[in-house]
Structure formats: structure tokens, C-alpha cells
Symmetry: C2
Subunit: 346 residues, 2 copies
Amino acid sequence: MAKKIIEKTLAQPVSMSESVTLIDVAKLAGVAPMTVSRVLNRPELVHSDTQRKVMEAVRTTGYVPNLLAGNLASSKSKLVAILLPTIANSIFSDTVQAMMDGLTASGYRHCSASSPIRASARKRWSRRFSGGVRTASCWPARRIAKPRTSGSPAHIPVVEIWDLTDKPIDMVIGFSHEEVGAQVAQHLLAKGYRKFVMVSVDDPRGLRRCESFQREIAKHRAAKPVFEVSPAPATFQAGREGFSRLLEKKMPEIIVCSSDTLALDVLAEAGSRGISVPRDLAVMGFGDLSSAAYAFPALSTVRVDGARIGKEAAKALLERFNAAPDTPKPVVHIDTGFTIVERQST
Amino acid sequence: MAKKIIEKTLAQPVSMSESVTLIDVAKLAGVAPMTVSRVLNRPELVHSDTQRKVMEAVRTTGYVPNLLAGNLASSKSKLVAILLPTIANSIFSDTVQAMMDGLTASGYRHCSASSPIRASARKRWSRRFSGGVRTASCWPARRIAKPRTSGSPAHIPVVEIWDLTDKPIDMVIGFSHEEVGAQVAQHLLAKGYRKFVMVSVDDPRGLRRCESFQREIAKHRAAKPVFEVSPAPATFQAGREGFSRLLEKKMPEIIVCSSDTLALDVLAEAGSRGISVPRDLAVMGFGDLSSAAYAFPALSTVRVDGARIGKEAAKALLERFNAAPDTPKPVVHIDTGFTIVERQST
DNA sequence: CTGTTAGCGCATTCAG
DNA sequence: CTGAATGCGCTAACAG
């Protein structure tokens, strides 16, 4: 038997056709399989001489661990589920990128799915994800209810991002969309604007920003904004059309958009109609799409640090993954805030 | 023992704390575990009466399959690795979205990673991905070389997307970037332009489009374009800065950008400088970012159907996954083409 | 620090 | 159409 291993390893590695397992490595290194496992996963528990021997054997055999087996034995998938409304052309891309980077650095991977996936509980839980990330109003919370399944803890860490919520499932990292709406309203009122027009996509968070904006306007007895909703998701086209419909009514003083995608679109439509921004029309966006405020000086916007949200989310998850099982859950409720970026004066 | 199962299932499902496995379901349904497995995975092999009994038991126990175990037993992860330069603010988002939708509909999931991940072979192969998707020039092909590992086929299906390549690893779905560069050059020459300026991000495909463009220009003895490269990835800011540097030299007639992100940025910078597009300056983009050509009438661009690429990639992978093991590999080499979209005349 | 024992939960492969 | 036996490859938990 030992002979067989030798044959396998002495043959040209490239032509080896049989698969190599922990046992093969162990035999070649003259140690127990468990020791090989330790060298690969928790090397600090193994004598350095043994480590060297084992790594040597790993190299000559070309061993690649089988996480399918490892996951089963340890009941840990090291897979994080990311559930977002969309990743296309999205304000979430910075967040996803940052999160991805944080997780992969620690050996975790992520699987993402977008909103239309209304998988059954069976499908959603069968991969035994180690953790989850979602926007708060992505799905009703009850859908996250964890069935009692084999080989997984009673609860998995979940981070709700891009929002703050009163009844979090677990951890929360984001900012208040009500606050955004209110502050934008105050900001614009202070600048002297009184006649507002809004364009929003049909997205829960966008609509909440708009509603809050309108409440704040009402408080100050300014005229009720004209309000136009486009179907989600945000596309450049949506903004154009919403804007056009509004123009049919009356030329507004300022147009408040629920996203930068819409705002850029309004900018474009204005340009093609010979309307000068900001001279004839002011435009306010949201989300700081690719540093929109910098790229488009005529645009005011609300800057959100999506990358920070992703980074913090990854950090929060990793901390929980690494915590001892009986550690009390730390409270993670981070308000990442936002910044209103005034257009560059011209 | 049977009693125990009954107790578990008759207790309030919500309060059950022990995990439920195939065996529990089988006992409750009075069948063998294998039958339960069949009902869940290949119901067509099971009598409908048995199916009903089993599904009933599945429901009352709240059973959720453990794919960690299933994957190991069947040596199939149903996970697809997606390797792209970036997903942030990216022309790939449509592609990823379409691919995701196609794969999840068939029970597959995807794990994505972006360029900076230079994981070791050990890490890259240990999850036993069922298939892979990458851009052709994302990594050198040799890095895809498959080590002989346990529990996985000698080769996995790989689709290279967003490019055509002479020596594909396996399947290819995309278009020729050389062709784009050449055709754009011809198009613009035909429109009467002679003095070109280019801005590109430092991306392999973008640079190839530019080089091809320049070769074509040279063929027609037009002036060599001024060429400005910004570091990757594309941001709106990159375009602005590249454009500004160019303006210091001379006001161009037309500016050709390696992506729509850059093009929109140039549009913005032009706007803030009082340069009218297209009257004073023509701008050409690439990638049809959010239907840029529609949203920004002054912009000409090259429309690429990213969603189609994603859809075809998913389809190609699924076909290979479902094929019998000894089926000869179908040749998949799809040129999805592109369309030059002329700006809307004003 | 290292080895041994004993599964993880399911699907493959036959036999019936 | 259904069942029984077997083991995927690895790691937890302990013993030494």
C-alpha cells in the first residue's frame, strides 16, 4: 500500500490520474491524516518539523483539499449568502465589492442572489450558509426564520445593510432613509427652494426617503411636491421619462431624484432640451454613483459610503464566525451616516 | 426509536431543537432513506403514492436537505465560480445578473471573485466548483490548469466571456475587441473625422480596442490619435482627468473613450467647461452603460449585449452539466457581436 | 504535540 | 419501483 502511494507520487505529477486525498498525503509524510488536516487548517498546533514534512508531501502529491468533505465533517460551509434587490447598475456594487474582499481574505466566499429569487425555505437553507447579508426591506423578516436543520447552528449571523431598522433580525449596518429625506428637505428649504418636484423608482428605501422628504416639506408649509414614481429598477431611461412627464405639467425649480441614476438621466434630458443646470433647474440626487457629485458639478447629491457598509458588514460577520460558540452576541448597530454634497458653484 | 421520531414531529415544530435528517423523514414516512432522497431529487422514479407519503413527512418534520452532505456523496457542488476584473460600477453587471438568473433557476449558485484575488491553486480548487466563468484575459490560462483532485471530474466546463480568443480553454462567448476598434475607426473616418483623441482605462480589453482603433487609423493615413491612459478601474473621475490633460494640449475634434463610464465623465467635464457636445466636440463611448446612448443623445457608443452574454454562458454551462459524462463536448464559440450606436441628431 | 475512533448526511450501486 | 449496504473525504473529540 505504501508502495502504491510512492508510485503515485514518483510518477510525473502531471500525468497522475487518480485523485489524491488526505490519506495519501499522510502516508507519504508518515503521519496520521489528522495531522495533515491540522497542518493545513491550524498549523499553530503542529510542530514545525512535522509541518515541513507534511507540506513537502502536499506539494509532491499536488494535494488539493476537498471542502465538500471538510464542510460536512465540520458543519461549516464558509459561504455567506448575499441577498440584494439587484446588482445590475447598482448603488450596491461598492458594497458588494468591499464585502467580497473582506470575506475572501478570510477564506469565506459569498453567493449572491437578487430579489426575484423567492426560493422555498428548503432551497434557501440547504446550503448551510455560515452567514447572511441582506437589505432590511428586501424580504419580510419572517422569511429568514431558521428551520431546525442538521449540521448547522440554531441561528446564523445576519447583517441587514443599507438601512436602519427598529426590529433588526440580528446586526444592522446602514443609515436612516427617513433622516436622508428630512435633511435633504431642510437643506433645500434653507437654500430658498419652495417648489419641489420628485422622481423616484419604486423601491422601498427610495420611497421612504421621498415620503420623509414630503413630510418635512409639509411641516414647513411649503407646497406639496409633485411626485412621479417609475418602476424599479433604476435605469437611465426611467429618469428621462419621469422627467418628461413632469415637464408636461410645469417647469420645476428643483427636481429631487431618489437615485443618482435618475439624476444623471434628468441631467441628460435637460441637456438635450437646452435646459441649463443649475441655472434654469437644480437637480438633487442620491447615492453618489461613481462620485457623481464630483463628476457632475451641477449635481447636488447625498453621498453614501457603500464601501464602508460592505467592509463593516464583512468585519461584523467575521467576528461572529470567529467568536466562541457561547460568546454573547455583540450588538452591532452601526449608523454609517451620509453626507449632503452641494453642487460645485459655477 | 420510532417513538422518538413521533415525539419530535408531534411536538410543536417551532420548538423542536434537534436536527432532522433524511432518516427521520424516512422513519416517519415508513420508507427507506433512499426513497426520501429520490422523492426530493428524482421524483419521477417514485410511485406517486409514496411521493405523497414522503412529502407529508417532509412537511411535518420541517426537513431541510443538507447539501453539504449531498455534495460530498455525489461529488457535485452545483457551484459556479465567476472570475471577473471587477463588479463595481461595471459593464459586467448585466452579464452577471443574467448569468445568475439562469443558473439559480436550475439550482446552481455562483460564487464570484474579482481580479485581485490571486488565490493559490489549493484554495481555488478546493470547493469543487461545477463550472467556471471568466473573462479571457482575466488571468493567464495556465492558472486554470486543473490539479487531479478527489471527487471531481478531470476537467470542469469553463466559459470565457466578453471576448473571443484564439486559444480558448473551453467555451467562448463574446465579441472581438479588435473588431470593435477597427469598426469604430472606420465609422468615424466615414463621418469625416480626422483628428482623434482617445482616453482609455488600463484594462486589457480596453487597450486592445484602442490599439486596433489606432492601427485602422494608421492604415488610412489619418493623424495618429493622442492617447491617454487612466489607471483601472474606470471611474467617472478618471475620465475627467484624462480629458483635462488632453485639453491642455489641444481642443480635439472627437474624443473616443474606452468605456461609457469615461464617456459620461467627459460629457460632464465638457458641460462644466461650457463645451457643447456634439456641437463643439463629439464623444464616442463603449459598453452601452445603462443604455447610455439613449439617455445621453449627444453620445455615440458601442452597444454590447451584456445580458445576452450572461444568458448564453449560463445556458452553455447548464447544457454541459446535464450532458452524459461521455458526451463529446459541444463546441461553443459564440460571437455575440456589437452595434455602433450613432448619437441622436440634434 | 500527535494518533485513534467514529461519524457528518447523503447518494451510488446494486439487488430484489 | 424500493431497499440495504457502503463509503464520499474530512474533522471533532478525545486519549495518549
